[in-house]
């Protein structure tokens, strides 16, 4: 017992007191900023591995960006990644970063369905479904619940059964082999339910977008309540994204 107390004292306080303002290292690639510098836009568009960059005007689509940083390494005067980790939104248009835009990525409370606002305001129980992911978003989801980030303190938890869940959170690009299981889990979740895409693979397919081994048809049938960009999303991005639903 004494030994354990010593261990605890040596470890000190490790939880992050305020997940909304906590800083991460400068090198972390979060929200990008596109300057007005004049560069060969065609080159920039072509170098992006997931076609996340469009020209006229130049923009980066965070639904496709895998945050490899290549655009910023090659055109540092044009693209910079800030360490702002709050990348989540319920409005896909807000995830397209345009030239000159420096403000934060906004969540749009006005488009949240009324029943969601009413029912989920104080806690959130989600069922995660991994559908062809590379286990990195899953890794960060697990980290979100650890003693550092402690998502549980906000009443956000992941549950074992979809029947006990307020919604489904998907990771991975939705492999054909997993498509049916995902749909079954979604149907088993009681209404009203949230549907969340976590990580670039889930949102757009990411680097796997063109693979014939995927089956993303299910997404045509459901409304997405939250997009959490990132490859994988940082735990602070996940938590802040989810906190938008609860007070």
């Amino acid at each position: 017992m004494l030994e354990e107390i010593k261990i605890m004292i040596h470890n000190g306080k490790q939880f992050i007191p305020d997940v909304r303002t906590s800083k991460v290292s400068e090198t972390f690639r979060g929200r990008p900023v596109i300057t007005n510098a004049v560069v060969d836009e065609q080159k920039l568009v072509e170098l992006c591995p997931t076609s996340a960059i469009s020209s006229h005007p130049l923009s980066i689509d965070l639904k496709k960006c895998i945050f490899c940083g290549e655009c910023a390494f090659r055109f540092p005067e044009k693209i910079k990644f800030t360490n702002d980790y709050k990348l989540s939104s319920n409005n896909p248009d807000n995830l397209i970063i345009k030239e000159g835009q420096t403000g934060p990525i906004m969540f749009d409370p006005s488009i949240v369905r009324n029943e969601i606002k009413k029912i989920f305001k104080s806690s959130l129980k989600l069922r995660q479904v991994c559908a062809g992911g590379d286990n990195s978003a899953e890794y960060e989801l697990n980290a979100s619940g650890n003693a550092n980030f402690d998502m549980g303190r906000f009443g956000i938890e992941f549950v074992a059964s979809p029947r006990h869940a307020d919604g489904i959170l998907v990771t991975g690009p939705i492999s054909e082999n997993m498509a049916e299981a995902l749909e079954i889990a979604y149907k088993a979740t009681p209404e009203p339910k949230l549907f969340i895409l976590c990580g670039v693979d889930a949102i757009s397919g990411g680097i796997f977008a063109d693979s014939k081994a995927l089956n993303r048809n299910f997404l045509k049938k459901v409304k997405v309540d939250l997009y959490i960009p990132g490859n994988p999303p940082h735990p602070l991005n996940i938590i802040n994204g989810l906190l938008n639903f609860i007070n």
Partner: protein, 503 residues
């Protein structure tokens, strides 16, 4: 046996100079070679080439760092069947299954010729993932328990089918494939070097460094790029950080399963320190964007070295203190000791690699046997434990963390990072008609990437092997005659990859 075709790790050979044997000769050569305890099977696959199939088997000789290449060909008019090697060399079971699933080549006498991962371009498209033919025992005394593909918790999908006598597990069969997203095919379809690099980082996100390093080395081999000694060392450093982080996370997860909360929490916190350092180096906690072909975007610096030494000093003190306490707790020892034991003999038979081999007295570690990157200049001695139970897997992680830390500290005493390593290449040209192989030792074990180029120097075949390809069988064997409630600790004690297996 002296006229065998051999290459070293991270080398290439012209495809046409690989000797092609008659199948019966190939068969007996493989059987002969595999009779030696120093040798293990690395990979066995078929390359479709117009109307023929060229089979390649890679056997590692751990005593002299050779990789032996054996080949045979199935011609257009040959019957699509071969005598299975599996009954003689069990370790080939999964590779013959894979070839059967991909191309419909029948291995006669294979006891278990079942689907592997239901890939999109499988031979028998009629067969769906829900039709997997599970082993059955007809008895009214027994019952079956099926779990998955979706499990409780944030974890990848897979199906576990137990045949139980009461609480006791007689047999466990693991069906995978749900994570299949067609990576090997995308490796050919995506033409940009960066796209391919990113694919390699996404084979198994918890092993981004291990896999992307194998990819980079294959490309550098085919493009004849010799990277600087300093870059090689930086890559090994990244690999050891990945090992430390995942190992300490797994120790935390095992503590969770025995309800030892202090261990679960603090080992988890300790992992955060390491992955946050990785983030401060390359911008990503999992080391994505760290490894690039021919160079590195964010080279290691003296400043980072000071910061890492500080991180490691804190980590080491707390890790040792907590481990010293945790590993002696009767509640931990009792739960892990003599549970889920696999014997050395079983491990050799199934051809397990990496941690799954070393915990059962089988010394297989590519860092030592077939060195790569910084492990030539700074060798590492593998940790080997004799028993093969859950406790051994728990203990191996602790010892490997210590050994990786010692490796880093020793290397830091001699290296300085004043001049930054070279920048990555944005495009490369590859030698035509070559076969290249790269092995790395990720935290789970041996990773193997192979590539073949056509006459224009385009990649026409790419093969990826995660260590889980060999090692899932070890988990199945561990469960024999245990109670079904022992499954979670066994599963976590291996922590095998679904996505790395499913590709």
């Amino acid at each position: 046996m002296n006229n065998l075709c051999k290459i070293k790790n991270n080398n290439s050979i012209s495809l046409n100079s690989i000797p092609v044997y008659k199948y019966s000769d190939f068969f007996s050569k493989v059987v002969d070679l595999m009779g030696d305890d120093n040798k293990h099977i690395v990979n066995y696959f078929a390359i479709p080439d117009k109307n023929i199939f060229r089979f390649i088997a890679l056997i590692a000789d751990d005593s002299n760092s050779d990789i032996i290449i054996l080949s045979h060909i199935l011609e257009e008019n040959d019957k699509k069947e071969l005598a299975a090697l599996t009954p003689k060399i069990n370790a080939l079971h999964i590779f013959e299954r894979e070839i059967f699933e991909n191309y419909g080549i029948n291995f006669i006498g294979h006891p278990w010729l079942k689907p592997v991962r239901f890939p999109k371009n499988r031979y028998n498209k009629e067969l769906q993932i829900n039709d997997y033919p599970f082993y059955k025992i007809n008895s009214s005394e027994l019952h079956e328990v099926g779990v998955g593909p979706i499990h409780a918790g944030i974890i990848e999908p897979g199906h576990f089918r137990f045949i139980c006598n009461g609480e006791d597990v007689l047999h466990l069969e693991i069906q995978l494939g749900w994570q299949h997203r067609g990576i090997e095919k995308l490796m050919l379809e995506k033409k940009q070097l960066l796209q391919r690099t990113i694919l390699s980082e996404s084979i198994a996100g918890d092993t981004s460094v291990g896999h992307s390093l194998a990819f980079a080395q294959v490309m550098e081999t085919l493009a004849q790029i010799e990277v600087s000694e300093q870059l090689k060392i930086e890559r090994s450093l990244a690999l050891e950080l990945e090992r430390i982080a995942i190992h300490v996370g797994d120790i935390s997860a095992l503590c969770t399963d025995v309800a030892y909360n202090l261990g679960a929490n603090i080992f988890g916190i300790l992992r955060t320190g390491i992955i946050n350092f990785t983030q401060s180096w390359c911008g990503n906690r999992l080391g994505k964007s760290m490894i690039r072909v021919g160079g590195i975007n964010l080279p290691f610096t003296e400043k980072l070295k000071i910061s890492l030494l500080d991180t490691i000093a804190k980590f080491e003190f707390q890790f040792l203190e907590l481990a010293h306490h945790t590993y002696r707790l009767p509640s931990v020892e009792n739960r892990f000791d003599n549970i889920g034991t696999v014997s050395e003999n079983q491990i050799r038979k199934i051809g397990a690699v990496g941690m799954a081999a070393r915990m059962a007295n089988v010394k297989r570690d590519i860092r030592q046997s077939h060195p790569f990157a910084g492990f030539f200049k700074y060798p590492i001695e593998p940790v080997v434990l004799p028993k093969g139970d859950v406790f051994s897997r728990f203990l191996l992680r602790r010892k490997e963390i210590k050994s990786s830390i010692a490796w880093i500290k020793n290397m830091f005493e001699k290296e300085n990072f004043d001049t930054p390593s070279e920048k990555p290449k944005t495009s490369i040209s590859l030698m035509p008609q070559m076969f290249a192989v790269s092995l790395t030792e990720g935290w789970r074990g041996e990773i193997c990437h192979c590539a073949v180029t056509d006459q224009n120097g385009e990649i026409c075949f790419y093969k990826i092997k995660d260590p889980s390809m060999h090692n899932w069988k070890a988990l199945e064997l561990s469960l024999r005659n245990l109670e079904i409630s022992d499954f979670p600790i066994n599963n976590k004690s291996y922590n095998l990859s679904y996505c790395g297996f499913d590709l």
